[in-house]
């Protein structure tokens, strides 16, 4: 299949505009592992002929880690610059696979002049499922396999999105098992609040190890994530436990691509 990833600028040159912008995010653009998630999501969008575009090199960090580290100046510089670009193109709707970008764009940009309809890719995937565009693959490769879903703090507690990712996993026809701490009491992976970009403070354990142990206890061979930072933290945790050959960490979009054989 020919894949097509237009940029908003290219569409504009053709006198067109996308229905929805796919905000890739820094991890989705640069992190080797997370790039596969970006590609998987694009495959789904292409497969369903969604009229989307990316900003390409015009995209910049939303400023989330700067804001949470305490540098409000840098956050607002990033925000205003991004808003100038988005408003310049008259963007109405944004989807992103990163809960941190999602939270910032959805909740913190409006006051600064950036008012868009912002959704997380789990919500868009759920919409595709509800519309019958993505169907359950019965007897597929995930049938009966144990999958556990790790709630991202910035989707769950921060924005009350608990059901959409689980609905997406249902179409895999897998055996969804919950960790002891899930949904509102889900344990953080340890990366939020700009922790991703520094060593943890002194303690008796790293948070991602605590969380990975809990995920491994479920007996699931697949840990489903919906956040690039969670994916990094949990993958590191699985490696630390020397389980990387038995247990895989996948994003929701990757699981859909695998089950739908896209």
């Amino acid at each position: 299949m020919e894949y097509n990833v237009p940029t908003v600028a290219e569409l504009k040159a053709q006198g067109k505009s996308p229905e929805i912008v796919f905000w890739v995010g820094c991890a989705g653009s640069f992190d080797e592992r997370v790039k596969s998630v970006t590609v998987a999501f694009v495959k789904i969008l292409n497969h369903l002929n969604v009229n989307f575009a990316v900003l390409g090199t015009e995209e910049a960090c939303t400023g989330d880690p700067a804001k949470r580290a305490g540098n409000e100046f840098m956050f607002q510089m990033q925000a205003m610059t991004n808003i100038e670009v988005l408003n310049g193109y008259g963007i109405q709707k944004i989807v992103t696979a990163c809960p941190h970008c999602f939270n910032t764009l959805k909740n913190e940009y409006p006051e600064l002049g950036g008012k868009y309809e912002v959704i997380h890719h789990s919500q868009l995937l759920q919409q595709f499922i509800d519309e019958g565009k993505i169907k359950m693959t019965e007897g597929g490769e995930f049938k009966g396999k144990k999958i556990t879903y790790h709630d991202s703090c910035y989707l769950g507690r921060a924005n009350n999105i608990y059901e959409a990712p689980r609905k997406v996993l249902e179409v895999l026809d897998a055996d969804l098992v919950e960790m002891k701490r899930c949904k509102t009491t889900g344990l953080c992976c340890g990366a939020g609040g700009a922790q991703m970009f520094k060593e943890p403070e002194k303690g008796n354990k790293d948070i991602n190890i605590e969380r990975t142990e809990e995920a491994l206890q479920t007996g699931a061979k697949i840990i489903a994530a919906a956040c690039p930072f969670c994916m990094t933290m949990l993958s590191d945790g699985v490696k630390n436990k020397e389980q990387e050959h038995n247990v895989k960490v996948y994003d929701l979009a990757e699981l859909i691509v695998q089950s739908q054989r896209l």
Binding site: T57, P65, G70, F73, R157, M196, K198, K205
Partner: protein, 440 residues
């Protein structure tokens, strides 16, 4: 004699009332030392939230056992206090069981409900004491739970038990006196729970029983007055009132949303040559972020007075679970302790007085702040909707923007964002290279 008792009672009631009034004014003044923040919007949504969280105790029911026990104490507190109206009026007017003739056959029913609740309060408080002091439930310990916070909790439980016992004893002796046909102890009908205690008193003389019944009555009412003053003076138990106020003013926006500092917006707009609205944040604040309690908002300070130190936040905190120094409960207790100190300083030395101390540094360390993942587990866990993350982020802002202090790796992350538009050291020109993967 009766008149003398009435006068003494009225004097005691006035002293107790004045004490509570002074405490409330002190607390109100302290809370208003915080920065302004508008939470006057959306009154209906706020009332709904208050009814659900404070009156309905929705979040408490995440832990069913403590929730049910706590509900009995709470219902006991609210409903037995209705009886306080009768007791207070009896005290002022020199009457005895003023409402009995008016309520007729309903009166013993009402008193029986009170007695049932009194018994459940005693049971719940005993279980709570056992959980704290014998079972040692983990969330009741921690560095911040030093001498006073632990003693405070035990004193409150002890006082509640004593007050309820006095109430039941008083009713028991009243019934023995009723059976004797004594003076103004008019027959009311049976009180089932306290009548179980009648056996203890049946052999005593009438005059002794009258004396003892009155002693219980006075102990109960003076105890209640003392307890109310204790709660308002400086106790974690203040949450019984603050829960309502705090849930009313709680954040209505998604938990993930941090406020955008308007004073920064103005500066950034000027730097980027964007139009600046004149109304936006005129008069720059003394500093960016928060170093001390007066830099926080009044809502943060209200939060600190609402904390009853239950430790549900700290129990859920990923940093605390993995042995880091951060404890959201300590953040709230430190904020309140420092605010009380600042309030005292202002009262003694005037508004401009500087004691050389601050919340950041003297109470809360950088290590604690740096351990937070802003995961909102503490916010979600709090039954009265306290937001420790808001305080942590404001203190971080001061560290970063005023003192330019951050871990080296954060500094590189920040300079990467500034120079490369991403927190990692990649060229912005390579941002779209991921799409190459699709071409293969």
């Amino acid at each position: 004699m009766h008149v003398l008792a009435q006068i003494v009672f009225i004097i005691l009631l006035s002293i107790a009332g004045a004490g509570i009034y002074l405490s409330i004014s002190r607390i109100r003044k302290n809370i208003l030392l915080g920065r302004d923040e508008d939470r006057s919007d959306n009154k209906i949504a706020r009332i709904k939230k208050m009814l659900l969280m404070a009156l309905g105790q929705k979040k408490m029911f995440k832990k069913p056992l403590p929730a049910i026990l706590h509900f009995f104490v709470y219902a006991g507190f609210l409903i037995v206090n209705v009886e306080m109206i009768e007791i207070a009026l009896d005290g002022i007017l020199g009457t005895h069981r003023l409402f009995a003739p008016y309520l007729g056959s309903l009166y013993p029913v009402v008193i029986n409900v009170f007695e049932f609740l009194a018994l459940t309060v005693i049971i719940a408080c005993v279980v709570f004491l056992i959980r704290r002091n014998i079972v040692h439930v983990k969330r009741f310990s921690g560095v911040e739970m030093a001498k006073w916070p632990s003693l405070d909790a035990n004193l409150i439980l002890g006082m509640e038990i004593l007050l309820m016992i006095a109430f039941l004893k008083m009713n028991a002796m009243d019934q023995v006196l009723q059976d004797m046909g004594s003076g103004h102890y008019t027959a009311t009908g049976p009180f089932y729970i306290s009548s179980a205690l009648k056996g203890f008193y049946s052999s005593y003389s009438e005059s002794f029983l009258i004396f003892a019944e009155r002693a219980c009555w006075w102990f109960h009412i003076i105890g209640v007055m003392f307890f109310a003053n204790y709660v308002f003076y400086n106790s974690k138990h203040l949450h019984i009132f603050m829960a309502f106020i705090n849930t009313y003013y709680a954040k209505l926006t998604p938990a993930g949303k941090l406020n955008n500092m308007p004073e920064v917006t103005k500066e950034v707009k000027l730097m980027l040559n964007l139009p600046v609205e004149e109304t936006a944040a005129d008069g720059a604040p003394a500093r960016f972020g928060a170093k001390d309690v007066r830099d926080l908002t009044w809502k943060n300070l209200l939060d600190s007075y609402s904390c009853t130190e239950c430790g549900r936040c700290t129990q859920q905190c990923p940093a605390n679970i993995t042995g880091k120094k951060l404890s959201p409960r300590k953040i709230m207790m430190d904020t309140r302790d420092r605010l009380e100190e600042v309030g005292k300083n202002i009262k003694q030395h005037g508004d401009a007085y500087d004691d050389g101390k601050s919340l950041l540094g003297d109470y809360i360390s950088e290590e604690e702040l740096l351990a937070c993942t802003t995961c909102n587990a503490c916010v979600e866990a709090c039954p009265v909707m306290i937001d420790p993350v808001s305080i942590i982020v404001q203190l971080r802002r001061f560290k970063l923007m005023e003192e330019s202090q951050a871990p080296a790796s954060w500094n590189s992350m920040l300079s990467n964002i500034e120079n490369n538009m991403a927190p990692w050291k990649f060229s912005p020109a390579d941002r779209f290279n991921w799409a190459d993967k699709l071409k293969g």
